[in-house]
């Protein structure tokens, strides 16, 4: 009982808070303000003189473009002006506080046959034009603008902004929506009729269901609204559930769209469920959560959708559902009101599928996430960039093709275009995708409808694509029919254009195919190329107007033109080779029982897996070094285990020494047997094989159990070397398994790592911690599905980093799903005690990130030292602004590569001092993303480059013997690391160092806590002291440091600096 109660209770608490934020405040004051404003609108409309002659001149563009004839009428006052919409039954959800005003058009202005040929639409518009003209005269009204009814440009309405504001300075506005109750005879507008005469095929008139529905909607708007209002009035729980559902839907831009859900449709569906026709699925005793759940479950799973939802007028149900389905065959979704009009006539099939999908995801959030999925359902923004694996924008501004057949026939041209794009992409990517969504929000607020409809293409058309499986999606060929089936072959050729070719397959089959050939690491581009090809082929769109977000961040992972991940094949081969040789060794005291990779390059999550080095081959193999041969080589760590023995020393130090002795013996015997050379220090042995340097490490199980005993007593925070090795081995194999399950995992991790180090956080977040964070995205994807593209994955990583509530919850990464509830309990217990410790001891720079895994339930492995709370705050701020920036780059019309680069360019003004290094003294200068320069602060030091270190072999060296060259090769030589180490040793309290371990040329320094406290205002002496110690820092990096700048970044502004500097760029 206990757990269940708290579970719902804390959810309830949160829901209450959310409702408080989202509900409009219906206090007497604000009601009065709104009522007064509505009154003043009514008054203004009342002052319009009767019998004013109205002609098309008020909005000639509109009338021309929708193709109406005979639009003159004499103005009469509206029949009635009533407050409607969700405001009237207290269900309006912030921030969109608006009041719908239903303005009933007077019958006198219309003729009986005005439902024909867009005359109704034109007159409706002209009527509003008059009203707009007079409303503008009122002083209480700040502005009157056009908007469109559910993005339907032929049905505009007025949005009136008041000069007054509600309490708390909240804005509101009034929508003036015309209705046409009983204006026309409904039977003339049944779906099979044609009412737009220009729509015919060779003289045969075609049915105009959409057009008819568009008029019917206006006719029944007030009645349907009345019905909804009756249902919701006085039913508090239902109303609250409606608000929650609105919040839920609004967070999902893919379903809160013109061809899917609207606030009105949600309330209709709920009203249906609460009505007799809906079998009273929702009834009075239910609470908000239950109503929410039932509604979502109905949307997601009900079979009734196949036939359609019907509101039955009392006692009248003689027509079977099948007949009705037939009647509405032109619509994919049917919600039929009691008058026989389909309320969901705008809903498209893809929109509806998406809706059901989202609803079922929401249900699993409720079941699986903590707090009943509160955060996932209501607080997480699910926009296009985060939801879809591939986003494509089509810039159609000024594209005449869109309205070549006229703006509005049965449907509007933009909707037609949406469908066309969807069908092309669907066909082109058949089998590759799970869902394709095409939305063109073309009619935005700023449009000037009077001037015609051709300007309604300013917004880009958005395409979102979800991928099923990577294997399918990245297939290189589209198989077509055999050329013998002539019709099909012709069709195939027509669709694929010049990409279609005939191929003879190995099994003797001959078939038409369209092929996109790419290397393994570049396969993700295939989808982009297919889309660009078919869209430009069928829609004759120029390539620059098709912007697909696919590979824009790849630059950060490349060396020149090549993604170094392609070296991984060699690497894995070399590793196999190594382990074979190691197992074969028989002249060492204990045989090697297992060889396990540790380095991230083996699990394809290293940003720069090393290329094979020409000087790191066995003696027998001579590979000629080319130009630009690096003098440094990254060693790759490999863990080996030996046979058991009782003769190991028990002492820690002695054990380590014995290990080294073993390793040296191994190195020696490799050398003797196969001529595999090696180099060693007291701690490490590096073996050169097949172009790689492998660093061997021995894991000794005995050492492990020794430590475990100690670890239980919570004595040691720092893990012993054996424990570390063990944990790394576990991590490595688990991540490798995960990578096998999700092929896109590797690239996402690589981007994430690159981002973290590009912003100088190498010191704060370990590689393994990043891997676990990204793993979490794949293992606990709700409210999404696991990402299938690198940019989506990367964006979600940034959002996770910025939004996760680290101080309150542990991040549990359960890679193989083998954590039991007891384990969870243990982890939570560890987390709580950790937090308590933290609270007890605030000065203690204790870990702020609790990441637990199967092999590390107390989060000691990767985040016990860093990030600290301050570092984490900084990380989160950077991540938040990067995420925001990335979203805007994807969604908006800014696609120059410079903007993409901004994601990885770090501002250098957020540090107290910045050290710039000599770029050509970096061990791998080609990994530098952007050369850093500083244009502010005071330069206080300039250093000359050292001549004794060159990152590449000089031409002179290349002429020497192989042996000499090999001696020049330096394993794991990294001046940056040494420099950082020296600074941290010399100034442990004074400076906090921020750097990029992946090859950045800038180091940021911030003053440690101690010195900042001392720093007074005009403390000249202190200043001098800082300059002196910065010079001392420079001395530590003699020959490596280029410049040191002293900036005076004010401490309190640090947190937001980056945010602004990035977001201001757009």
């Amino acid at each position: 009982m206990g757990s269940e109660a708290t579970y719902t209770d804390s959810t309830n608490l949160k829901l209450r808070e959310l409702l408080k934020e989202a509900q409009h405040d219906y206090s007497p004051e604000s009601t009065k303000i709104i009522n007064d404003f509505v009154c003043s609108i009514k008054k203004a409309i009342d002052q319009i003189p009767e019998d004013l002659q109205v002609t098309a001149d008020l909005g000639p563009g509109f009338v021309r473009d929708i193709g109406a004839d005979k639009v003159e009428f004499k103005f009469k006052k509206p029949k009635s002006i009533e407050i409607g919409g969700s405001y009237s039954f207290q269900c309006v959800a912030k921030p969109d506080v608006h009041v719908d005003l239903f303005l009933r058009l007077p019958k006198e202005c219309f003729y009986e046959k005005d439902y024909l040929n867009y005359r109704y639409h034109a007159k409706r518009f002209l009527y509003l034009c008059i009203i707009k003209k007079y409303l503008k005269l009122s002083s209480l009204i700040q502005e009157v603008r056009w908007s469109t009814f559910h993005n339907e440009a032929r049905k505009p309405f007025l949005v009136v902004y008041p000069a007054a504001r509600l309490s708390g300075n909240a804005a509101f506005f009034v929508k003036i929506i015309p209705t046409s109750t009983s204006l026309f005879c409904a039977s003339k507008l049944i779906l099979e009729r044609n009412n737009v005469r220009s729509l015919n095929q060779e003289g045969v008139l075609q049915a105009t269901p959409k057009y008819n529905s568009s008029i019917l909607e206006d006719m029944f708007l007030e009645d349907n609204f009345e019905f909804v209002k009756r249902t919701f009035m006085g039913w508090k729980e239902l109303g609250e559930a409606l608000i929650l559902l609105k919040v839920w839907a609004r967070q999902r831009s893919s379903i809160y769209a013109h061809d899917c859900l609207s606030g009105f449709l949600i309330s209709i569906i709920m009203a249906y469920l609460a009505s007799k026709s809906g079998k009273n699925r929702i009834n009075k005793p239910m609470n908000v959560i239950q109503i929410l759940r039932i509604t979502l479950d109905f949307i997601a799973n009900s079979k009734i959708w196949d036939h359609g939802l019907y509101f039955q007028p009392d006692g009248e149900s003689n027509i079977s559902n099948k007949d009705r389905r037939k009647q509405f065959q032109s619509f994919p979704v049917i919600i039929c009101d009691s008058f026989g009009f389909n309320l969901a006539f705008r809903m498209s099939l893809s929109g509806f599928q998406e809706l059901r999908d989202e609803a079922s995801l929401a249900l699993s959030c409720i079941d699986k996430c903590k707090d009943g999925g509160f955060d996932e359902m209501f607080m997480t923004k699910i926009d296009f960039p985060a939801k879809y694996d591939y986003c494509i924008r089509l810039n159609l501004k000024g594209s005449r093709e869109v309205y070549s057949c006229g703006f509005c026939l049965d449907e509007e041209c933009w909707r037609k275009y949406e469908q066309k794009v969807l069908s092309i992409i669907d066909q082109a990517l058949r089998g590759r995708t799970k869902l394709v969504r095409v939305i063109w929000r073309n009619a935005t607020f700023e449009c000037n409808i009077e001037d015609g409809l051709s300007t309604l293409d300013g917004e880009a058309l958005l395409i979102g694509i979800s991928i099923n499986s990577m294997e399918e999606a990245f297939k290189q060929a589209v198989m077509g029919p055999s050329p013998e089936e002539k019709d099909k072959a012709l069709e195939f050729r027509k669709f694929w254009g010049d990409k279609a070719t005939l191929r003879w397959f190995r099994d003797g089959k001959i078939a038409e195919v369209a092929v996109w050939e790419h290397e393994e690491s570049e396969r993700h581009i295939i989808i982009k190329e297919i889309i660009e090809h078919v869209l430009s082929h069928h829609l004759s769109l120029p390539k620059e107007n098709i912007i697909s977000i696919v590979d824009q961040l790849d630059f950060s992972l490349r060396h020149g033109n090549k993604d170094p991940i392609s070296f991984s094949v060699n690497l894995l081969k070399a590793f196999d080779n190594l382990s074979k040789h190691l197992r074969l060794l028989d002249d060492i005291p204990l045989r090697i029982s297992s060889v396990q990779p540790l380095d991230s390059a083996f699990r394809l999550t290293s940003v720069f897996p090393p290329p094979p080095h020409p000087l790191a081959y066995e003696d027998s193999v001579g590979v000629k070094p080319q130009k630009l041969t690096s003098t440094c080589i990254q060693p790759l760590e490999v863990m080996i285990q030996l046979e058991g023995s009782g003769n190991w020393p028990m002492d820690d130090l002695a054990m380590e020494k014995t290990k080294s002795a073993f390793l040296m013996k191994i190195g020696e015997s490799l050398q003797e047997k196969w001529g595999i050379s090696c180099t060693a220090t007291e701690d490490d042995v590096d073996v050169f094989l097949s172009g790689y340097a492998f660093r061997l490490k021995i894991l000794h199980e005995r050492g492990l159990s020794l430590v475990q005993k100690q670890g239980n007593a919570h004595v040691k925070r720092v893990l012993s070397s054996d424990k570390k090795l063990f944990v790394r081995g576990q991590h490595s194999s688990m991540i490798n398994g995960l990578r096998g399950r999700y092929p896109i995992y590797g690239p996402v991790v690589r981007l994430a790592k690159r981002w973290v180090s590009a912003h100088l956080f190498s010191n704060s977040l370990t590689e393994e911690a990043i891997e676990l964070l990204v793993a979490y995205l794949f293992l606990k994807p709700l409210p999404f599905r696991p990402p299938s593209s690198r940019i989506t994955g990367f964006l979600r990583f940034l959002r996770l980093l910025s939004e996760y509530d680290w101080s309150f919850s542990a991040l549990i990464v359960d890679i193989n799903g083998d954590l039991t509830p007891e384990d969870d309990k243990e982890i939570n217990h560890n987390f709580m005690s950790n937090q308590r410790e933290y609270k007890d001891n605030m000065q203690n720079i204790s870990p702020a990130m609790f990441v637990a895994t199967v092999y590390d339930k107390a989060s000691e492995a990767w985040t016990s030292v860093s990030p600290t709370a301050a570092e984490l705050r900084r990380l989160a701020t950077y991540a938040a602004s990067s995420a925001k920036f990335l979203t805007s780059v994807i969604m908006q019309n800014l696609n120059d590569s410079y903007r993409w680069e901004c994601l990885f360019r770090t501002p250098l003004n957020n540090y107290n001092a910045v050290i710039l290094l000599h770029r050509d003294k970096l061990p791998f200068p080609h990994r530098l993303l952007f050369p850093s320069e500083i244009n502010q602060g005071r330069k206080i030091l300039h250093g000359n480059p050292s001549k004794i270190f060159q990152p590449f072999l000089l031409p002179g060296d290349l002429r020497g013997s192989l042996e000499e060259m090999k001696n020049k090769l330096m394993v794991n030589f990294d001046p940056l690391r040494y420099f950082i180490h020296d600074i941290e040793r010399e100034f442990p309290e004074k400076f906090k160092v921020w750097y990029d371990s992946l090859g950045g040329d800038a180091i940021g320094l911030t003053f440690g806590n101690k010195s900042s406290k001392k720093r007074g205002r005009n403390n000249n002496c202190e200043d001098k002291d800082v300059v002196d110690s910065l010079r001392a820092v420079g001395e530590l990096g003699k020959g490596f440091v280029r410049n040191i700048y002293l900036l005076k970044a004010p401490k309190n502004k640090l947190r937001h600096g980056y945010l602004r500097s990035v977001s201001d760029r757009d």
Binding site: G2, S3, S10, L13, E17, L18, E21, K94, Q251, F378, M379, E643, G644, S645, G646, N647, D651, A654, K657, S660, A661, M664, A680, T681, E682, E701, D896, Y898, E901, F930, P931, E933, N935, Q936, R938, I940, L941, H942, G943, N944, S946, K947, I948, F949, F973, P975, Y978, V1027, G1034, E1035, K1038, G1039, F1040, L1047, K1053, G1057, R1060, S1061, D1064, R1065
Partner: protein, 378 residues
């Protein structure tokens, strides 16, 4: 006022187009300058207006700045000039930034304005980005005019007799030419560097021209003084000194790899010493025992050791695992924590207490989140 006046005078004096353009440039660069004046209590109306605008919204300054720019050289001039003007505008923007950053660095006692400066600093920054972008777009077309302009700057710098700055200017000129052939990112950074250097030169020049204004004169003198005080410290490459820096790292690297033989010897020595130590400790213990004292005999639980202590043949991990397994099995037989009723009751109570405390904590957290407006879904 004074700044304005001097500016107007100059306008009257020189009528050539080029100069007008220069003036326009000046007018704009005056903006950050005049801020300084404002701080010092110089109540120039126009400046004040502009400044107050800036206070309110940093962006508007950016806008007005740009507008000024386009107005000044406007009046239908040739295209190339426009381009030049634009280029200058960018420089100006960058300069505004340098200027702003520069002053807080040098002028102590202006701390009370630091907040405002920060905002302008940031505005500068964003402008900087914009300018960088624009520059990149225009990179090719502007090349010629840029060099041309840089020449001017070179002259200015020479006037100033500030050798270092001049070197900077000419250097960047060269850089600029190179940049157009190099990659984009490289071009940008070198340019921003260029902007910075040339800016400094001009900043100082401008200061001198504003001699009329007493306070700003003092200001500039002061700055110059400080600049001299903190001259850039030149550091050698350190290739001869192996105590620090690159040389040290390389030396250490090589020293740590004396070859397998040496290392093995070292380890052997260590092990030998270690064993000797242990041996001695053992002997001491034995000696103690032999002396007639007594030792505690500890009972070893579990299986007897299967291996010979001297030869050290396999005990094996298998045996160990077996023991552990056995232990685990035995553990199950032991009385569990819920054997007695009071234990169960206690456990139950504990659990409820924990849940309660968790719920309290949740509530506290929710309070906190409400304060942070975390429940606002928009």
């Amino acid at each position: 006022m004074a700044a304005e006046d001097s500016h107007k005078k100059m306008k009257k004096r020189k009528h050539t187009k080029k100069n007008i353009e220069q003036n326009s440039v000046k007018e704009n660069s005056q903006l950050p300058e005049s801020e300084d004046n404002f701080y010092k209590g110089n109540k120039d109306k126009k400046n004040k207006k502009k400044y107050s605008g800036e206070k309110g919204d940093t962006k508007t300054v950016g806008m007005s700045n740009i507008k000024d720019e386009s107005d000044a050289p406007g009046g239908g001039k040739k295209k190339s000039k426009k381009l030049r003007a634009e280029k200058k505008k960018n420089d100006k923007i960058a300069k505004a930034e340098v200027n702003d950053v520069g002053t807080p660095c040098n002028d102590e006692g202006q701390d009370e304005f630091s907040d405002k400066k920060e905002t302008s600093n940031e505005a500068g920054e964003c402008k900087m980005h914009k300018s960088m972008k624009k520059k990149r777009k225009n990179a090719k077309t502007l090349d010629v005019s840029e060099v041309d302009k840089l020449d001017n700057e070179g002259e200015d710098a020479a006037e100033q007799k500030n050798d270092e700055e001049k070197v900077g200017a000419t250097h960047t000129e060269h850089e600029d030419l190179m940049a157009s052939f190099r990659g984009l990112s490289e071009a940008e950074t070198s340019r921003s560097a260029n902007a910075r250097n040339s800016k400094k030169a001009r900043k100082i020049k401008k200061k001198d021209r504003l001699l009329v204004n007493q306070s700003s004169q003092e200001n500039s003198v002061e700055k110059k003084g400080e600049a001299e005080e903190y001259e850039v410290y030149e550091m050698s490459s350190g290739d001869e000194d192996s105590s620090k820096g690159m040389k040290k790292w390389i030396t250490e690297y090589h020293q740590s790899r004396p070859g397998l033989k040496v290392l093995q010897e070292r380890i052997d020595d260590f092990i030998a010493a270690h064993e000797a130590q242990e041996e001695q400790a053992r002997r001491e213990r034995e000696a103690k025992a032999a002396e007639g004292g007594w030792t505690v005999v500890v009972h070893h639980k579990g299986r007897k050791k299967t291996s010979d202590a001297e030869s050290g043949t396999v005990v094996g991990s298998v045996a160990q695992a077996a023991v552990l397994d056995k232990m685990a099995k035995r553990k199950n037989k032991d009385a569990g924590p819920d054997f007695y009723r009071f234990q169960r009751r206690e456990a139950h109570r504990n659990e409820i207490m924990m849940l309660q405390s968790k719920f309290e904590q949740d509530k506290k957290r929710i309070q906190q989140m409400r304060a942070e407006r975390k429940f606002r879904p928009y």
